[in-house]
């Protein structure tokens, strides 16, 4: 039974990952950024209140900002973990040998993706103790934290799939890396720009009815998703401007699942691109 679920690439990748200095320094960087942020936040807010205590609503603000900072970090780190998945094997001339083993293309791609995701999950878990500060001061429901972590996972899987796809279809890691960061800039930045553009346009033309377009741009933006998850009022605000009442997370989940399926399908198809018959 164990042998059936055993994915050699997954196991090997994790082993290599934990042995490399890059992963260690990546993890340290992540934790350092979170710490610096939290300490800075505490210093600034206690300064404001003048006394050494911390109110639940400030704790909530900290939670909100922390969640967004963490999402940004995840977005920033995922490409560096996944964009080399296949192309680095190609560059190191280990790919042909891997492709002559009896592992299916699906197995190889999934193993590569999951090993990166596993590492990122570990990273998120390593950051959890810092979150506990938030609970200490109150103001946030644990269920909220759970849903936020689930959406980190969805986002990591989607960005990771995009990275693995670019890694498979481009020859060089650096190109795959640039393309993956490009996708993130699109999802995290350009969508926001389009959102404001379509909102402004909608307002200007004084059109009646729903602005599905502006809703869509907001709904696929990880930042917007975080905001609506953190505070329901944000979601209501979006419903007011766009006229669409579908919760953002539903659309986000659908679109990102599609991204995962699409990217992985391309990667699996293209892994053995020089063979006509591949799976």
């Amino acid at each position: 039974m164990m042998e059936r679920v055993y994915n050699p690439v997954f196991v090997k990748e994790l082993k290599l990952r934990f042995r490399s200095f890059k992963s260690f320094s990546g993890l340290m960087f992540y934790l350092a950024v979170l710490c610096v942020f939290i300490v800075g936040f505490l210093l600034v807010t206690t300064e404001f209140t003048g006394r050494g205590f911390f109110k639940p609503d400030i704790s909530f603000i900290m939670f909100a900002v922390l969640s967004i900072v963490q999402m940004a970090l995840v977005l920033f780190i995922t490409p560096s973990l996944t964009a080399g998945a296949i192309s680095s094997e190609r560059e190191r001339q280990t790919l042909p040998i891997l492709l002559t083993t009896t592992q299916s293309s699906t197995q190889i791609i999934i193993g590569k993706l999951l090993s990166s995701v596993a590492f990122l999950v570990l990273m998120l878990i390593a950051g959890l103790p810092l979150y506990s500060l938030v609970f200490l001061f109150g103001g946030v429901a644990p269920s909220q934290v759970v849903s936020i972590f689930l959406f980190y996972l969805v986002t990591v899987l989607a960005i990771g799939s995009i990275g693995v796809m670019f890694s498979t279809i481009t020859k060089r890691t650096i190109v795959a890396m640039i393309a993956t960061y490009g996708s993130i800039i699109f999802l995290g930045g350009i969508t926001a720009f389009f959102f404001f553009l379509t909102i402004a346009f909608h307002g200007m033309t004084a059109a009646v009815g729903n602005s599905w377009m502006s809703y869509f741009w907001a709904a696929i933006n990880p930042g917007a998703l975080m905001l609506t998850l953190i505070s329901p009022e944000m979601g209501e605000g979006l419903t007011e401007v766009s006229g669409v009442s579908l919760p953002v997370w539903v659309t986000y989940l659908i679109v990102y699942s599609l991204i995962i399926v699409f990217s992985l399908t391309i990667a699996i198809r293209k892994l053995r691109a020089n063979m006509k018959n591949n799976r």
Partner: protein
């Protein structure tokens, strides 16, 4: 059993392989010889299911490389001409990874790894990092890796290239051993003599075409055409030379005066050669020895590839 049928590979308009046909029976050690760029690696990549042929097909033990690539992968062990290793992995982890990649259960892998390391003389390196091994060791490790799923066909692309003479000898001894295990071995080289001694059959490829195929002696005969014959006389060098010059099948006569020896190229058949010798004896020429000079394979190879190269 390996069957290559009309294999053609085009890169754009460039034809790297041109209707290659080849059948090898089980247990054959086949030497694939050709200059750089002749198409050896292309052929082997296709057999290893890494590359689709433009047209044609190949069968490894009856399985088509196009229709049943996974089945083919189970049957072959492939060693590319250039390959890398994962740094940060130890020798036994390296083999364990590939063993797992072939679906070999963990318990079996544990038994297999020491045996393979023994076979390729790397037992002492079991717990060292692969990227710290010498080139010759990496090459042998890669061979062990190609053997992990006990394939009955081995496809080795220039396994001895870049090795020093000692490492070559080691590699050759291992290959000899594998031959006694009954494996079908395809081995390519751009150096012919390196292969001749251990191969049952040799195929010569040039510009994507198989220009000769057979056992080593047959290839030599097929390719040589002309023999180089040396005769020794006790005296009368000038007369013997004059006698030889009359025969239209003889050319390039060289007289080595201090050794009383004459060397010449002969294009005739064996029967014609008998007649020639008879005639010489009748003419009372003092010939006491006749021998055929071995042209070494390298010369033959140079001659044929030069011939086929011209557009």
């Amino acid at each position: 059993m390996i069957e290559i049928r009309d294999l053609t590979k085009k890169y754009g308009s460039f034809t790297a392989l041109d209707h290659l046909n080849l059948t090898l029976t089980e247990g054959t050690v086949f030497g694939f010889v050709g200059a750089n760029g002749a198409g050896k690696s292309t052929t082997f990549s296709i057999l290893a299911t890494l590359l689709s042929p433009t047209t044609g097909d190949a069968f490894i033990n009856g399985k088509s490389i196009i229709k049943e690539p996974t089945e083919v992968r189970k049957q072959i062990g492939y060693m590319p001409d250039f390959f890398g290793v994962y740094d940060q992995l130890k020798v036994d982890e390296y083999l364990d990874f590939y063993g797992a990649s072939y679906g070999i259960p963990s318990a079996e892998r544990k038994l297999l790894i020491p045996q393979l390391l023994e076979l390729v003389n790397l037992t002492t390196k079991r717990y060292e990092y692969v990227d710290l091994l010498s080139r010759g060791m990496k090459q042998r490790l890669c061979l062990a890796r190609a053997l992990i799923h006990d394939p009955n066909v081995l496809i080795l692309d220039e396994p001895a290239s870049g090795l020093d003479p000692r490492a070559r000898v080691e590699m050759r001894d291992i290959l000899r051993h594998l031959k006694t295990m009954g494996k079908t071995i395809l081995i390519s080289s751009h150096i012919l003599p390196e292969l001749a001694e251990m191969c049952d059959e040799i195929g010569v490829i040039d510009n994507g075409k198989l220009i000769a195929h057979g056992n080593v002696a047959a290839i030599q005969a097929q390719l040589q055409g002309e023999k180089r014959i040396a005769i020794k006389v006790t005296e009368k060098l000038v007369e013997v030379r004059a006698f030889l010059e009359e025969d239209p099948l003889i050319s390039a006569i060289d007289v080595v005066e201090n050794r009383l020896e004459i060397v010449f190229n002969y294009r005739g058949t064996d029967a014609e050669q008998v007649a020639l010798l008879k005639k010489a004896v009748m003419a009372d020429l003092p010939i006491y020895a006749v021998s055929e000079e071995e042209k070494d394979l390298e010369d033959v190879f140079m001659a044929i590839t030069k011939g086929a190269d011209s557009p």
